[in-house]
Symmetry: C2
């Protein structure tokens, strides 16, 4: 018997994690730190509170990640122009370069993945994974709404 669709998707999740871990190794970066850099690249200079919301993680956790990324020269803390309690975190020029390369690699990976699918199946797969993502999103949203009602 062939594996269930859900098992294929879980297998793909697992392989993505391995592939990304491999891509970072030797750079001193970790998945959580790369995620923060990715968020920063898209959001631009941000307060740690904003980063905590975007990463769906506690502010305390952001302190630790920013400490590490500051020590490795990937981000800088600068004073907030109007709020003296806050700091702005921004990518350093080297990190901007690193993230640009990473985004190129990301696009290359996308291209090879699309090519791995038979041409006549591509449109259906695009529709299918969009539907799957939407369905899962609603499942998770429903569960988290319920847990807010019974905390």
């Amino acid at each position: 018997m062939e594996p269930l669709l859900v098992d294929r998707l879980l297998q793909i999740s697992d392989l993505f994690q391995k592939d990304m871990a491999r891509a970072f190794e030797g750079t001193g970066l970790t998945p959580a730190r790369v995620h923060l850099l990715w968020v920063l690249q898209h959001a631009g200079a941000s307060t740690q509170q904003a980063l905590a919301r975007l990463c769906e993680v506690t502010p305390r956790n952001i302190t630790g990640l920013v400490d590490a990324l500051e020590a490795s020269g990937h981000v800088r803390r600068t004073p907030h122009p109007t709020d003296r309690r806050a700091v702005l975190v921004e990518l350093t020029p080297t990190a901007v370069e690193t993230m640009t390369r990473m985004q190129e690699e990301h696009a290359r990976l996308d291209a090879t993945l699309v090519q791995a699918i038979a041409p006549e199946d591509r449109a259906a797969v695009e529709r299918g994974v969009s539907a799957l993502a939407a369905h899962l999103e609603s499942l998770v949203a429903a569960a988290s709404a319920e847990s807010r009602n019974t905390p």
Copy 2:
């Protein structure tokens, strides 16, 4: 512009993680421990060395996971019948029940996922995700073969 296929797949990975974390919460179980129980359910009573290979994790790590699962009553350590160095880890009856329920929930999730895809797209999606999994598998295998050559 619509998101890249790879971004959809990453989104699905992320949603799976959230959904599973939600499913375990309140049970005292964690993703790593459930994974070990899952492996144990499929492999049957195993030595910790075998579990380390199956989970792709160090033997030391298995010691910790088995300690925790033994304390929570999910697994038992029994002496190996022929090798006095080794122990056999096996599921307790309650854990067997828990895993059976989990497998049923897994099958239900698969059914709702398949239903979320338009009927005329289902066959193409099944073929597509199989091709994607195979392609990623070969990418990861190639990378790990290369890293064994340059350690």
